[in-house]
């Protein structure tokens, strides 16, 4: 018999496609949460592989903090247009106004936590029973134990003790009304796997993933993009740096890294050399306490 060999990226892709199709098969109102970041851009490519020449069996949903990089927003709109898929945008700004929530203040002010409110409202508004997201288990310790189908209660809460055992490639998506499932098709991918896949698939990314000159503030040894949204202190110094982003989220809590990478090969080379993991390099919010991520997930965060 001839030898048949499936490369690791093909294996990861096959697994992710299988998971997406399980979502299509098991749920009535699924959604794909699209953040504009490279992980969700990867999800979109996987959805194309899973469902073309048909349409996606779910809309793309973006929870917009209002503090996103304009480049990411433009990319989002163009992508949805090019794919001919439905895009739903809900704004954290509206939730803040409607529920008269108070904006976080101070040095670490970020709408990241408020995003959860808007996400839960949106889930309720459309009756989504499954939300596909781009989280990966290699990102953070609390994520390392996350299931691929992660059941959340009505409040979106994650309870590590209530998680369902997940065996073989059988995913149990049965939930009661009001509950929903967060689904993570690229759970088993690492940051480098994502980059290698983007390279192989020749996926175009927002240009902020590559080196560019930007005005930054230095915060706790990290470079934060200067913007109107970021909390400023009198002794803050604004510096011009050649930077790129490794993740793209809210401008107030996504840090840049100094970089000379003009293209994907450059990015991959820098990651191989880098000795700082992705979240550590770029997320201010995880540093606040040792269990920050675990606590946020219990509260309904992705």
């Amino acid at each position: 018999m001839t030898k048949r060999y499936l490369d690791y990226l093909d294996q990861l892709e096959a697994e992710a496609i299988h998971i997406m199709r399980e979502v299509a098969g098991q749920f009535e109102k699924p959604a794909l949460l699209f953040s504009g970041g490279k992980d969700s851009i990867t999800l979109v490519r996987l959805a194309e592989k899973a469902f073309r020449p048909g349409k996606f069996p779910f809309p793309l949903v973006h929870i917009d903090t209002g503090h996103n990089f304009p480049e990411a927003i433009r990319y989002r709109d163009e992508l949805a247009e090019r794919l001919g898929e439905k895009l739903i945008v809900r704004n954290v700004e509206d939730t803040i106004k409607r529920k008269s929530l108070s904006e976080p203040k101070g040095r670490y002010a970020s709408r990241n936590a408020l995003q959860t409110h808007t996400l839960l409202e949106t889930i309720e508004e459309f009756g989504f029973d499954a939300c596909i997201g781009g989280a990966r288990r290699d990102e953070e310790k609390a994520r390392a134990k996350e299931r691929i189908f992660s059941v959340r209660d009505e409040f979106g809460q994650w309870d590590p003790k209530r998680q369902r055992p997940e065996l073989w490639n059988i995913y149990n998506g049965r939930v009661h009304k009001g509950e929903n499932v967060r689904v993570f098709p690229i759970s088993n991918w690492t940051e480098l796997d994502v980059w290698n896949y983007i390279k192989r698939e020749e996926i175009e990314l927002p240009n902020i993933y590559y080196t560019h000159e930007r005005e930054c503030l230095v915060r706790d040894g990290k470079l934060m993009a200067w913007s109107d949204f970021i909390f400023q202190e009198p002794d803050d110094v604004v510096v011009k740096k050649q930077v790129r982003f490794r993740t793209v989220g809210d401008m107030t809590c996504t840090a840049a890294v100094e970089s000379i990478a003009h293209d994907i090969d450059g990015v991959i080379a820098e990651i191989l050399e880098s000795k700082i993991s992705e979240r550590g390099a770029t997320r201010i919010d995880d540093k606040l306490s040792e269990t920050a991520m675990e606590d946020r997930k219990k509260g309904g965060y992705f």
Partner: protein, 418 residues
């Protein structure tokens, strides 16, 4: 570059977390900030070095109690392979976690403390690995530094283990003397400390183990997950059956049977993302188009016509129970197998498997949490099953509680009654 999925098991304190930490550390997969976070936690081990086990002990509750309570997944890669580690805890009450981690693994690393030798847990973890059909076992005899790196100690443990291992179904068993703490035979060799050992280090072994043969390429099984019907002007009559080749191979021209209906047709094309492929083989996800207009929906299976895979409603299985509330004969449950879900009833418990000895215990009237029992099951609608031992990809199923929807059991098909 391919993927090896493995599980690590061992008694508490045998050194699992340290071993994984060492693998990650010595292959330079740990980043400065992760190390810094561990250092700043201030926990050092006896040697005054940073405690590498903290890299894997994730959740708050675990750090407070100093134990691992759930399966944690870790990733690393070398030039040869990507590795996915399922780190399963060793306590007896967590058999279900080990079963979970083992279900997707091709290899199982079982740690033995050189000072203690083969223990009840060693046998249990080996037996669970074997029941779950893991083809490759690696027995790491750890803490060799604490027994003066003595060859005799190692040989004695290997002998004891081989004696016991005769009962196991594993295809291949490898023994390696290691010190997870000092790093002997983990990534590097042990020329200085154990010159008498001539085999590969653990990492060398993990890089070489042949895993591509572990996919079953004989029995063609394609469970349909979803039907693609664009209904656009361009693809007006298009019907694509989306699914995963869980075993076997498919190509255009193959004669196929659609079960359970028994209709036959021929494969028109194999595609992915709108691109035509020459052939699909396990574990690829693809789309199949057929020549004829047959009625196919999610839950059906496309098999090759020559296979004669029959539908069955009654079968025997080994079931691992994963819920606090015991299972009694007569219980009705949901059964999920590939993309099919049906109701079922557990009609009889034949015997309980003693997971320390593989002995059969008769006269069992219920299955408790973490028990593994041989049972008779009747499904409400026909299923397309293989025996787990013949085809791991099509012999496993889960049991789901009808009201809470919790996953309460994992089953492996043992005998099928047609």
């Amino acid at each position: 570059m391919d993927i090896l999925r493995f599980i690590t098991a061992g008694n508490v304190d045998d050194g699992k977390s340290t071993l994984i930490g060492r693998l990650l550390y010595d292959t330079k997969q740990i980043f400065a900030d992760q190390l810094e976070a561990i250092e700043s936690s201030g926990r050092l081990n006896e040697d005054g070095q940073v405690d590498l086990s903290l890299l894997t002990d994730g959740l708050k509750a675990e750090r407070e109690q100093g134990i691992t309570i759930d399966v944690a997944y870790k990733y690393f890669s070398t030039e040869k392979r990507k590795f996915i580690i399922a780190d399963a805890p060793g306590h007896i009450q967590y058999t279900r976690n080990m079963v979970t981690g083992a279900s997707n693994s091709n290899l199982s690393i079982i740690l033995v403390d050189a000072r203690k030798g083969v223990q009840e847990q060693t046998r249990r973890h080996s037996i669970i690995s074997s029941l779950l059909g893991i083809p490759h076992l690696v027995i790491c005899i750890n803490k060799m530094d604490l027994v003066g790196y003595e060859e005799q100690v190692y040989n004695q443990i290997v002998e004891d283990y081989k004696q016991f291992a005769k009962k196991l179904r594993a295809k291949e068993i490898t023994f390696i003397p290691v010190s997870a703490l000092k790093g002997d035979n983990i990534v590097e060799g042990s020329e200085l400390t154990m010159p008498w050992y001539k085999g590969p280090s653990l990492l060398e072994h993990l890089e070489q183990v042949p895993v591509s043969q572990d996919f079953n390429l004989e029995d063609a099984r394609f469970p349909v997950q979803y039907v693609i019907r664009p209904l656009t002007a361009e693809h007006h009559d298009y019907r694509g059956y989306a699914g995963k080749v869980i075993s076997g191979t498919y190509k255009a021209g193959d004669k196929v049977t659609v079960q359970p209906s028994g209709q036959t047709s021929t494969i028109k094309s194999v595609e992915l993302g709108g691109q035509v492929l020459e052939e699909a083989f396990a574990p690829m996800s693809v789309v199949l188009q057929l020549e004829d207009d047959v009625d196919i929906s999610r839950g059906d299976m496309i098999v090759k016509a020559a296979e004669n895979l029959e539908v069955a409603q009654e079968f025997e299985a080994e079931v691992c129970w994963m819920h606090n509330k015991a299972l009694k004969p007569g219980a009705k449950l949901l059964l999920r197998h590939n993309s099919t879900e049906t109701r079922c009833v557990v009609r009889n418990i034949d015997y309980k498997i003693d997971i320390n000895t593989l002995d059969h215990l008769e006269d069992v009237d219920q299955i408790q949490l973490n028990d593994i029992c041989r049972v008779q099951i009747k499904a409400a609608s026909p299923l397309l099953l293989d025996k787990y031992a013949d085809n791991r990809a099509n012999g496993g199923f889960i049991l789901v509680d009808e009201t809470s929807f919790a996953t309460v059991g994992a089953g492996m098909v043992a005998e099928i009654e047609y």
